[in-house]
Symmetry: C2
């Protein structure tokens, strides 16, 4: 037996798919993390934090979002039950979007991530500068 083989057995990497989570739940984890990480979802959710808003108001409140992406994002979030859509039969038409309780819990978690970003971004910037300097 050579050294490489001996060491591989000694280290005993958990042979399973991923050491930390069962392979079966990986899709769900990815799903949630992807939503949190995508360009607009959490921005929209955060904007709805203190009350319902209309489509157009959302578009103005979230800087840089296109109609297309606002529509797509709203539909995904609605599909997952993170927010609701209410259309009022008026003239002119009015549609309001509001957070569900589920959406609120996700927002709360994400807000701590944003806090983390605020607390450490200078440290990260410094790390990057050091890294790039070499």
């Amino acid at each position: 037996m050579d050294t490489a083989t001996r060491r591989r057995e000694a280290v005993a990497v958990p042979a399973g798919p991923c050491s930390r989570w069962p392979a079966e739940s990986l899709p769900i984890i990815r799903d949630v993390l992807e939503r949190v990480g995508d360009k607009w979802s959490m921005l929209v959710i955060g904007t709805l934090r203190d009350g319902p808003l209309r489509y157009t108001d959302l578009q103005h409140a979230v800087p840089g979002i296109s109609q297309r992406m606002l529509t797509l994002t709203l539909r995904q979030l609605r599909r997952d039950g993170l927010l609701t859509r209410t259309a009022y039969a008026e003239v002119p038409p009015r549609v309001e979007y509001a957070l569900t309780p589920l959406g609120t819990t996700l927002l709360d978690l994400t807000l701590s991530l944003i806090d983390w970003a605020g607390a450490h971004h200078q440290e990260i910037r410094d790390n990057r500068a050091d890294f790039d300097a070499q």
Copy 2:
């Protein structure tokens, strides 16, 4: 003054860039959320949770990751100071990756997101089924 204009003023959408966060900090927030949401970063960090691992061990522990993406992910994480790389001058060469304290704090936050996913994924699945049924 027409109705549309009057309502716009009445609702008083915070005219600023994004109602919730100053436009200046948006890039930083995006930065962190993108990292959390990207396909491999948190999986790699989670895999390093209980100790340093070698390149090859990481590749086997994270199911489905390619050499290219492992290398790229490791470099990004290293650049941000979320993990360290230590090369030992041996034959055969050995390189170990380990979490930094900063990386650990980020992992802890993300773990609560993963818990959230576990707690609510059935609810989300149901919501999707309802939504798609219509």
